[in-house]
């Protein structure tokens, strides 16, 4: 490969035959799709057709890095897993920090593609470009922490980086996650179940090689400027001190903290589960991912009470929302316990906690009866039974089996209007991000390529109103609306730009939170410079924007192959019709229809079918998409 930054090699692992091949990464692939999710999107498009069941051997799961992973750029430790999602049946990806991405690069591999199904449980070991499949029968049934530790012991190397599944993945829970390098998670879309379906327990990586840089002087300059820029940003001290839990109080203050399964937009007990309470009672230590000056990760430990001895890290806002406000549970130590349990079992905290609040609401309303719960009492706030429900979901016991499919499938099976309480888009559960209190967030959930998601468009600029950032990024002419969470004006633009930029940030292998969105320090020009000097590619901000747009469009096209169109870009009725009175006195709903046309228009998508037009696809050099989608498309 002519470019630096990449290792230039990838591994093709056929689990059915046990064959492993090392192949070159084509220049063209890097030029058109950049890396990580870009690569994965292209591979899914080429290899996994609409007829493929996500849990069949024909699906693939890709672990992919980008050109900035393992470099000097701040937060360059994040990598992607891409697969067809068993939760949504469409495009799926998930991102995790930690150290796995850089390690894969140091091992001389840009990405790994798994296909097929092993006859018995295996794990893949990679060391400096050499790879082997190893027996994992003794690891099957073990939780994720035990698995990581056992592999490190077995290979006699505490520095080995492990990604693995727990019992939830083995049992094909549709939102099972993949845990990586000590508590970081590829949380969403059910990649853990895909690994489980392939009898693939883990990936273990060690590397001692370099990541080479095309223009060391210029790259060094961009990287150091980015580091010191982040460290000098106004909100760096707060993000660094509190991490994502820091937004509990902020979100609650603007009625954007979903409570009681989205019946409310704020929680009257929020101050018991906010970042200050967490820090005061349980904080042990700051922990960072590779190359990150922020260190938003923390270790928290419970020393007293029924959960004494529980220790968590990568403990996020979403856990506090999901196992706190969403089920009306104000006991912080029990939420820490829930976080630990989900990590060990290998469950996506967002989806599983939303499945539980869904079940609690159905019970409350008499749609699900007491008998369904096998002795449990799923009333609001009953955290003990919520924890037990979590276990039953991971092992698919009793009602756990029903809820393990995700709320959309569960609601369809339950009937009796249960779907009204299923807080999902395209089959994926909505995170603790309420589109009624922040209009752009509602739009982000429906346009996201992986089903309900706050991280694809990641509208942070108007979340609590960052006029300075809005002015810096977009210009005075967009104010005040751009920074107003209740305004729908310009939000189609905000989400379109956010999605394109997020696609690129994910593709290069850096962190959306620690520099690009939450801490909105870096933007198109910074990333373009970093990629240009790291790789040697002729690329500027405009070129980068085209790549971002191409990735988003190909994901949409992939979903279109699976029947997705305008009709699927919808929110749960609750968010459109039941006002959130914690957000505004008169109550607010998400005014989605005011934003969608602007979004489609800016995308160059047809407003009727919600699909890319032929003209836009050709502009993005996606001619093969035009051919394959054919009559579905408008000119």
């Amino acid at each position: 490969m002519r470019y630096q930054g990449y290792t230039g090699k990838y591994l093709e692992v056929d689990l059915t035959t046990g064959r492993i091949e090392t192949r070159p990464v084509e220049d063209k692939l890097a030029e058109t799709y950049l890396g990580a999710n870009g690569f994965g999107t292209r591979l899914l498009w080429e290899r996994v057709g609409p007829e493929v069941d996500p849990l069949s051997p024909e699906n693939i799961i890709v672990f992919a890095t980008g050109p900035l992973n393992g470099t000097l750029m701040p937060n360059s430790g994040r990598m992607e897993v891409i697969t067809k999602s068993p939760l949504t049946g469409i495009y799926g990806d998930s991102n995790a920090g930690g150290f796995l991405g850089p390690e894969l690069k140091f091992a001389g591999v840009d990405f790994v593609v798994f296909s097929g199904r092993a006859a018995a449980p295996v794990y893949l070991r990679i060391e400096d470009g050499r790879a082997e499949l190893r027996d994992a029968r003794h690891l099957w049934g073990k939780d994720t922490f035990e698995t990581e530790e056992l592999i490190q012991k077995e290979l006699r190397d505490p520095g080995i980086k492990v990604a693995c599944i727990g019992p939830a993945g083995e049992n094909l829970v549709r939102y099972a996650c993949i845990q990586a390098t000590m508590s970081r998670s590829f949380g969403r879309v059910g990649g853990g179940a895909v690994m489980g379906s392939k009898n693939l327990k883990a990936l273990a990586v060690r590397g001692f090689g370099p990541v080479r840089i095309a223009d060391p002087e210029k790259f060094y300059e961009v990287a150091t400027r980015s580091h010191f820029g982040i460290r000098g940003n106004d909100i760096y001290p707060a993000v660094s001190r509190y991490g994502t839990p820091g937004i509990v109080s902020i979100m609650n203050g603007i009625g954007r903290f979903p409570t009681k399964n989205f019946q409310l937009g704020g929680y009257d007990q929020a101050d018991k589960i906010n970042a200050e309470a967490l820090r005061e009672q349980y904080f042990v230590k700051d922990v960072a991912c590779y190359g990150c000056p922020v260190a938003c990760d923390k270790i928290y430990r419970v020393d007293e009470g029924p959960y004494a001895g529980t220790e968590v890290r990568s403990f996020e806002y979403e856990t506090l929302g999901g196992y706190g406000a969403s089920i009306l549970n104000p006991r912080l130590d029990s939420i820490i316990k829930a976080g630990d349990l989900c990590d060990r079992l290998g469950l996506d905290v967002i989806s599983v906690s939303r499945a539980i609040s869904f079940a609690m609401e159905l019970y409350d309303r008499g749609i699900l009866k007491k008998e369904a719960f096998d002795g449990l009492n799923p009333v609001w706030g009953n955290i003990e039974d919520a924890l037990e429900l979590t276990r039953r979901i991971a092992y698919k016991q009793g009602i756990g089996a029903l809820l393990s499919q995700g709320v959309r499938r569960a609601a369809a099976e339950i009937g009796h209007g249960a779907d009204h309480y299923a807080m999902e888009v395209k089959g994926q559960e909505i995170a603790s991000q309420d589109g009624r209190a922040q209009q752009s967030m509602g739009l982000a959930h429906v346009t996201s390529s992986r089903g309900a998601d706050h991280l694809k468009g990641f509208p942070t600029i108007d979340e609590t109103g960052y006029p300075t950032e809005a002015r810096r990024r977009y210009g005075e002419q967009y104010l005040p609306d751009m920074a107003d969470p209740r305004s729908t004006k310009f939000k189609g633009f905000l989400i379109k730009d956010g999605e394109d930029y997020a696609a690129v940030v994910d593709a290069v292998g850096t962190c959306k939170s620690g520099g690009n969105f939450v801490l909105a320090q870096l933007y198109w020009d910074d990333v373009a410079g970093a990629v240009r000097y790291a790789t040697g590619m002729e690329l500027d901000a405009d070129g980068l924007k085209v790549i971002g747009e191409r990735i988003v469009n190909l994901q949409r096209a992939y979903n279109a192959l699976h029947g997705i169109s305008r009709k699927d870009d919808r929110l749960p009725k609750r968010l459109l019709t039941e006002p959130n009175y914690q957000s505004t006195k008169e109550g607010s709903v998400c005014r989605l229809e005011e934003m969608l046309p602007e979004y489609y228009n800016l995308r160059g998508w047809d407003a009727e079918n919600g699909l890319p037009t032929v003209a836009r696809l050709r502009q993005l050099a996606l001619d093969d998409v035009v051919e394959r989608l054919g009559p579905k498309l408008k000119p």
């Binding site: 393992g70 470099t71 000097l72 150290f99 140091f106 922490f145 530790e149 505490p158 520095g159 390098t181 000590m182 590397g207 001692f208 090689g209 370099p210 990541v211 080479r212 840089i213 060391p216 060094y220 150091t224 580091h227 460290r231 042990v284 230590k285 700051d286 922990v287 960072a288 991912c289 590779y290 190359g291 990150c292 000056p293 260190a295 270790i299 890290r313």
Partner: protein, 158 residues
């Protein structure tokens, strides 16, 4: 002057390794970094580890060709690559793993304090690494110890 290690402030980000290796090798190459962060992930213990430029340096004593010598200006023990045989005696002799071996060039490699402006210290975001005069190092340590004592006295007093 010495690179003072403050493990309690280390978050394990390895920025020091990335930048050290880049300065020395022009590639991001933690395996060739002169400084390493030793990690006990489960316990959350991270210890940055780098040559402390010993007064009676084993690497210096054992080198058969006098390729290791102190830079009087910076205080660093430096490897003269033109003299180094690649015999690895210094690697073996250092009780702390402060000297490593580069198999590509066949030379010993170690921290040289970047000529008096250590890159790792410059980039460390938390103060886990600092570059101070010995007297200040000692005072800082005393202050840390005294703070614990102060807290203890305060607790007893109540």
């Amino acid at each position: 002057m010495r690179i003072q290690l403050n493990p309690e402030k280390c978050t394990g980000c390895q920025i020091c390794e990335a930048f050290c290796s880049f300065k020395k090798e022009r590639a991001v190459w933690p395996a060739r970094s002169r400084i390493s962060v030793l990690k006990w992930e489960k316990e959350g213990v991270f210890i940055p580890f780098v040559c402390q430029q010993c007064e009676r340096a084993a690497c210096y004593e054992v080198c058969p060709v006098g390729a290791i010598a102190r830079n009087e200006e910076t205080g660093a023990m430096e490897v003269d690559e033109s003299r180094c045989l690649g015999c690895k005696m210094c690697v073996t002799a250092c009780p702390f793993g402060g000297v490593a071996y580069d198999p590509d060039r066949g030379r010993a490699i170690k921290c040289d304090l970047c000529g008096g402006q250590p890159e790792c210290v410059k980039m460390c975001p938390t103060g886990a690494l600092s570059f101070e005069r010995e007297e200040k190092n000692a005072l800082a340590r005393k202050r840390q110890g005294a703070e614990r004592l102060a807290k203890y006295i305060d607790a007893i007093g109540r």
